[in-house]
């Protein structure tokens, strides 16, 4: 069982070229901020390393941080074997949000990433099937959980506002 600081140390030792930042001054559990384009490599390490053994992705969710002009993705991981947990965060630019997919590592990430794509327009690179999951496939008004989203007046001839 390892805490977030120890896991951060292991990550820094294994990936000396990548930047990691520990955020622990918030009233929530501390989390590690890392680069969105290498999150797949980091996840592989977290999953495969026998001392970390993160075999379960509890949740993957997008967040629109409009004031900082960024979209972020949070990963909640758990090792069911070693009983420790970890929260990862990646930050991308709001205008071209691109994050590496982790579906190769945790199969359950597939639909979570599709949802984050549907709701926030975050593009997951190397995702096998990046389609909308909840909104209609022909929804053209954008991604509804973005803070600056405006609902359309009509969808397929149906009036949308009340």
């Amino acid at each position: 069982m390892k805490n977030t600081e120890e896991i951060l140390q292991a990550l820094k030792e294994n990936f000396p070229d990548f930047s990691f930042e520990l955020k622990s001054d918030l009233p929530v559990e501390g989390f590690i901020i890392c680069n969105p384009l290498v999150i797949d490599k980091i996840s592989h390490f977290l999953h495969d390393n026998p001392e970390l053994n993160f075999d379960s992705l509890i949740n993957l969710s997008g967040v629109d941080e409009i004031k900082a002009n960024q979209l972020s993705v949070y990963y909640h991981l758990e090792s069911t074997e070693l009983k420790h947990k970890l929260v990862l965060k990646v930050v991308t630019d709001r205008n071209s949000p691109e994050v590496a997919s982790v579906t190769d590592i945790w199969k359950g990430a597939n639909w979570h990433e599709r949802e984050a794509y549907d709701m926030f327009g975050i593009k997951f690179l190397n995702h096998p099937d990046l389609r909308r999951i909840l909104m209609p496939y022909d929804w053209e008004a954008g991604h509804p959980l973005r803070k600056d989203y405006e609902n359309p007046e009509f969808y397929q001839g149906m009036k949308v506002p009340f």
């Binding site: 909840l134 509804p144 609902n151 397929q156 009340f162």
Partner: protein
Amino acid sequence: MGLLDKEFTDGNIVIAKAEDLMNWARLSSLWQVSFGLACCAIEMMATSASHYDFDRFGVIPRPSPRHADIIIISGTVTLKMATRIKRLYEQMPEPKYIISMGSCSNSGGPYWEHGYHVLKGIDRVIPVDVYVPGCPPRPEALLEGLIKLQEKIRKTSLVKKST
């Protein structure tokens, strides 16, 4: 009712207006599309079950819209589902009736303002005969809605438009 009174006094002879007979036949076996959407569907299922017994009004769930006379819109209608409901409705043979069950399908319900994905009332897509209020309505309310629909059917006329 008063429709079949004379059968019991005059032996085998039934005297009735063709209109009344047809309306009576229609309102007494309203087969519904076996179709539920959200939490209202749970109440609809409770209404169908033995305690409230929808069957005693002739309401039998059918697996195909082509067998059905009514469709109960029981729950939140998303914009994505609205297109499917329209297709279901179009597959039903005439005469067909619609009961809108619960606040969501009446007007969008709790999603009326911020529900970017919810249709604000099924009557924007298909014509509704009876609106049943509630969130969700109790089985008694749905039964009341069905009885209201039966009253409406009883008043329909083959020759003149019903008011």
